[in-house]
Symmetry: C2
Subunit: 437 residues, 2 copies
């Protein structure tokens, strides 16, 4: 692949660095996969092979979707507004038993198309046939942290649980030097994984120095089940197994106590907040303001399309800012700067990628999006942060660059043939309808 | 203006009639301002002067924004994430004291552009210089119910309160036979209007047989203030004044009791729910499931752009469906069909326009939008309702017809010059910055 040499100019840069530096009339120079300069564009005469004109738009770090089941894009709208157990037992589980490698490849390609087109450049995925998810992300040229879901019962992919750990190990080895794809060990949850599986998974994560990703305290049912089985609520139980550590990425954390939060903060556990999914499934509201106040790193995720039903981090930001205001009855919490940080640099920290992505700074990999603000709903602009969180939507993103490579220009995807992907998605849907009928 | 003769074909029609009839491969014929046929398109050979191909998209009634302060589009992002009183006293009120007719005209044009481009065809407005709002809506060819805000203190538009009633009366007379613009009497709230003003406003509404629009029980502070001044909470106080009637449109109703809800249901009072604004200002969560269960008609609104910060009814639908699931901890409440009804036919009922708009039925005025679903985030499609509420966004709307006249085709506005409007909006913003600095 040709080495990039790109200038992005004529826009306001939101760096999302430590000081939230904003640079009006900014200019970014990308060389190869890296940001080689971030600064003012006034009077600068740098030349490059390619110039992208932001036309007065906002230039910001690519967004980070910290929790997805990407291939579930093929289940979007299959079943909604149902009691959780009905939804799972009569729709999602029966369908998931039938999926195969090609299903996951197609579904993840579809999800990547949606994510790029709504400004996401990095995602963290947990699903079945995850080699296919990695392959799809690589084709889309998206940055990702992926992992095969592990649980006690047989998987339609790898079969018995021992094979799941072997599959994960081969996944880690296959991608260990890849510039875009990295791999995590991903036991599903405390109520679907035995203590032995959790401990084995953790050992593997430590051995290969990769994160461990797990659902934690998503629903009250889960909390009750874990308490009943193991005599402790989820976070205490994780702690007692020695798993509450700085390599742990805990998805959801809806039902956690003040004591839990203190423990997570002390141990460096990172949290991904999924407000839309938690609301749609009526799981509860995670105590995000307390998590952040106590020093826990919190990123944002959409969860899978079947429980959201979109992969748009812009609407997730809007929901986050508003949900916690109403939860705390305080309009000042989770202001727009804090929330955009959750979707960028804090999300990068949550995935252990803060040295690579999440902000626009010299030396970081070039994961950059441009937001077109020349639209009625974004005119006039007093405050770019509040525009992004409260008014913009995914389809206001005009350009995306990942790891120095343009993947979308003027809303045209450069790495994926969306007509072909949508056609294949429609074919898969015919089968899905049969599976659940 | 030329009489319309338009066929819309090759899409799935969601009629939103009483039975929620869905017609695949549907065909709608519009003659003049009216829907002359809604039915299957299979084998039909009707000819018309103009044919709009929906290209497999969804054809549905135009959305109804039941509560706006449209010209506040010029304040979007001026101040966010602040305590309510700081926001009002240091930003909104000082700015509003300086606005003039041209400000409201420009701001309302900008809002109309955003609303049309996100699928809204009818809105209910309350603001200052409302003659200009009506003029702007007319220029945009949007359907609306507008009214000058009335309160005890002097208005930058009409001066003393008596003049406000005169202004309202002249507004009613000016537009009384207009096909698009209708007028309501709009006292601001129970804590900014004396009982005399409320009673006079009500008499005028009854005399001209127009609705009365008012903010009710939006915040806990308001409830306390009304109780202190008048010895009763807002809805009881309204009732005691004889105002709780079927011509009353009550915006918000966040803090209402079971008794209040019963009274509203019995008296036919209609409610507009504004979830995003109520969340962003941390006002509270309206008991929408109870209101609907008790038989109160509930429509959706965005409120003004300064407290939302968008006019997109699609995100309002998404928020409504999710917010009440988490409030009640029940994922089955406010399902996608119910929520789309709130944004269409129930919204029309709330504004007293159910004979005119809100559903696609023969004889109704032709207020129709087309949603382009040939996109990754809307493919495949199992359920059009859940796609609309949970996955689509305003900018997925490709076409809009209001009162039989196309106002947007392939996302190009036909009635407004948006470049010119945005330029004027940017000029106004320079002044606004000075006002609050």
């Amino acid at each position: 692949m040709q080495q990039s040499d790109i200038i992005i100019k004529n826009g306001t840069i939101l760096t999302m660095n430590r000081e939230n530096t904003v640079i009006e009339d900014g200019l970014i120079h990308v060389k190869g996969d890296t940001i080689s300069r971030v600064g003012s564009g006034g009077g600068v005469t740098i030349e490059a092979e390619k110039t992208i004109d932001a036309h007065g738009g906002l230039i910001l770090p690519g967004l980070i979707n910290g929790h997805t089941h990407a291939a579930m894009s093929l289940f979007r709208g299959l079943a909604d507004d149902l009691p959780l157990m009905d939804w799972l037992n009569n729709y999602i589980f029966p369908a998931e038993r039938r999926i195969d490698a090609d299903f996951v490849f197609t579904g993840t390609l579809l999800a990547c198309a949606e994510m790029i087109m709504s400004g996401t450049t990095t995602f963290c995925d947990m699903y079945l046939f995850e080699k296919e998810a990695a392959r799809a992300a690589r084709k889309a040229q998206m940055r990702c942290l992926v992992g095969e879901v592990l649980y006690d019962f047989p998987s339609p992919n790898y079969g018995s649980v021992e094979k799941g750990l072997e599959y994960t190990e081969s996944l880690i080895k296959k991608w260990q030097n890849d510039p875009l794809v990295s791999v995590a060990v991903e036991p599903h949850s405390l109520f679907t994984c035995s203590p032995d599986l959790l401990i084995s998974a953790n050992e593997m994560a430590l051995r290969y120095e990769v994160p461990m990703v797990i659902h934690v305290a998503e629903t009250l049912n889960e909390v009750e089940e874990v308490k009943e089985k193991y005599g402790k609520p989820p976070v205490e139980y994780l702690y007692s197994l020695g798993l509450l550590d700085s390599h742990l990425i805990a998805d959801h954390c809806v039902h956690v106590s003040e004591q839990d939060i203190k423990k997570m903060a002390k141990n460096g556990t990172r949290v991904i907040h999924n407000p839309e999914s938690n609301m749609k499934l009526a799981s509860g509201i995670a105590p995000v303001t307390e998590l952040i106040t106590r020093g826990v790193t919190v990123g944002l995720g959409t969860d899978g399309c079947a429980s959201n039903n979109n992969l748009d981090i812009f609407t997730e930001m809007d929901m986050t800012a508003k949900l916690h205001k109403i939860q705390t009855m305080d309009p000042t919490v989770l202001d727009s700067v804090t929330v955009l940080r959750m979707a960028t640099i804090e999300g990068a920290k949550a995935l252990g990628m803060e040295d690579i992505t999440g902000s626009l700074e010299t030396g970081k990999k070039a994961d950059i999006i441009i937001l077109d603000v020349d639209k009625p709903h974004l005119t006039p602009m007093y405050n770019p942060y509040s525009h992004i969180v409260y008014a913009a939507r995914g389809n206001d993103v005009s350009h995306s660059i990942i790891n120095g490579q343009p993947v979308m220009e003027d809303r045209k995807l450069l790495t994926l043939d969306i007509e072909e992907i949508m056609e294949r998605a429609r074919e898969k849907a015919i089968k899905v309808r049969e599976w659940v009928s």
